[in-house]
Amino acid sequence: MPKTRIELPETIEHLSILNERGELDQALEPAIPDALLLKLHRTMLLARRFDERLLSLQRQGRIGTFPPISGQEAAHLGAAAVLRPSDWMVPAFREMAADIWRGRSLESIIIYNNGFNEGGRVPAERNDLPISVPVGSQILHAVGIAWGMKYRGKDDVALVFFGDGATSQGDFHEGLNFAGVFQVPAVFVCQNNQWAISIPRSKQTRSKTLAQKAIAYGIPGIQVDGNDILAVYAAAGEAVERARAGGGATLVECVTYRMAVHTTADDPKRYRTDAEVEEWRRKDPITRFQGYLMAKGLLSEDAVKAEEEAISAEIQAAVDRAEEEMKGLGDPLLMFEHAFAEMPADLKEQRADFIRFMAEAQKEEKHA
């Protein structure tokens, strides 16, 4: 009974196409039409500026707590951009640029983050789940959706986002395992932003990469420079094509950085240094992509300036519309809706009692 060795993949690919200085590896440059490149750039910029605006609205008390995305635009937009409308996107909660790309309105983001359920509504034309707060739990839903696609003989895919912290959750491992066993068209996109609130990536796992976790589940895994939208687009594109062709699931680890707070209730100074943040600022995904587009002759300083102005106006218009719309929201009776297809008798009673109470309270207020 000799001791033998079992062959396993010993390496994980790491993909980088545009380096930190914006220099291109021409051999790896994906063929993306010019119009699409410009749309990606505009969406990244819009998401960044909107993120900044949301932060200021939050600081002014005009919206509630929210999780900023700054620094991670390429990591999630690059992946969402390879999807077709009939594909499903299963978000975590830090994929705003992808949401906008898929058609979510800026107003709905403001309304949701200001504590109105109406902002969570997904329009019928978008096959996306609403955001999922409990870390990693949504991974399994993508596996189920992908299972359904395979069962129905569709060549669509389900793409799910999660962070580095999620890879410590059981649902991540169970999800990848199920996807491997059932060979479903799922794409797992990990936005490894280095920090799960205050816990650094090095304390989540002893593994050298997160991508290598795919090996244990018999599916391909790849690590990409998540601040390089070309690399994310290329790797996610390959994963999506493999899934469509019946080749099963892939894990894509996007190495990126959360430039801002975890949520607006967080103070990163407690756990990380400014020097580290500054180092990542030099790797900014938008600056880098902008440099590439300028070198390609698709974008000029003037064009960026004009775009910034248009974006600023677009955001202002969205804020105005959202604030106008929110004046009409707040009917408390909405809290009784959408529990079930049909409201059960005991809930109807509770609702009726609430209506009675509100009416009487109003009457008493008038008398007083």
Binding site: H141, M149, G170, E174, G175, N177, A339, F340, A341
Partner: protein
Amino acid sequence: MPKMTMVQALNLALRQEMEKDDSVIVLGEDVGVDGGVFRVTDGLIEAFGERRVVDTPLAESAIAGMSIGMAVYGLKPVCEMQFDGFSYYTMHQIEAHASRLRWRSQGRYHVPMVLRAPYGGGVRALEHHSESREVFWAHIPGLKMVIPSGPRNARALLASAIRDPDPVIFYEPKAVYRAFREEVPEEEETLPIGRSQRVREGRDLTLIAYGAMMRPTLEAAEELKRKHGVEADVIDLLTISPLDDSLLVESARKTGRVAVVHEAPRSFGPGAEVVARLVEKAFFHLEAPVARVTGYDVIIPLFNREKYYLPGVPRIIDAARKLLAA
């Protein structure tokens, strides 16, 4: 009408719903080749193939989470938990997502899934195989919690649960699985979820129970009549949540004396909700405090002492006689 055990009746419901609707998918641990450890899914893989009867890896949370994704996509997954004691792994998925996706998406999505699990004592099993934790689920808004008590209503309720547009936790009293047979019609039959049933008519006191406790409760009712000349009104809840209190209230107003029977621990158990509804809606008709005949607030003992924990005919009669003497 053929006479069937509850296992056979549940199998019939699954088979017929799968025949009618190719979006119905059965999945879980050992549900395929093995036909389920209690054989509820016996023969389904032969009839419908591996595509629709799916043996999954051993991971309850993933079974539930994948079912949620399937349901959101438009399928009707019926997933099996081998024992209720292992179903708590799914609680996060069920509470955080199955019960909320309709609400979270403001009606865009809904989760028409069924999570089946055998529950309760009485089968001389190992630890974690005998609990009765229905209130865990019943306390979650957006979720339905159903427990049949016999073969015929099990079949009809499971068919309804599969057709229901919202998530249903379906607890099957494993002590009843093969305990007796009942006539079950071959043709389709459903029962409305969220509706209790009067299963015995009486004017002297009300006994409220469900699931495996229906048998001792009905036996107690017969004995009360035989030995004490007392006629008990007996109500089978069938759905724990959302709780239909109309029959309970009507019966309590008639008899003024009520006992509620369940094998779940007493404190914060389903009986507590029943008592609260009666206090709210029938207080001035009550002739005696409502009695609870339940499991105790302890871990259910291993099976040698189980009979002392589980409510049986003598404890129900004891409670009834105290009610009548009050």
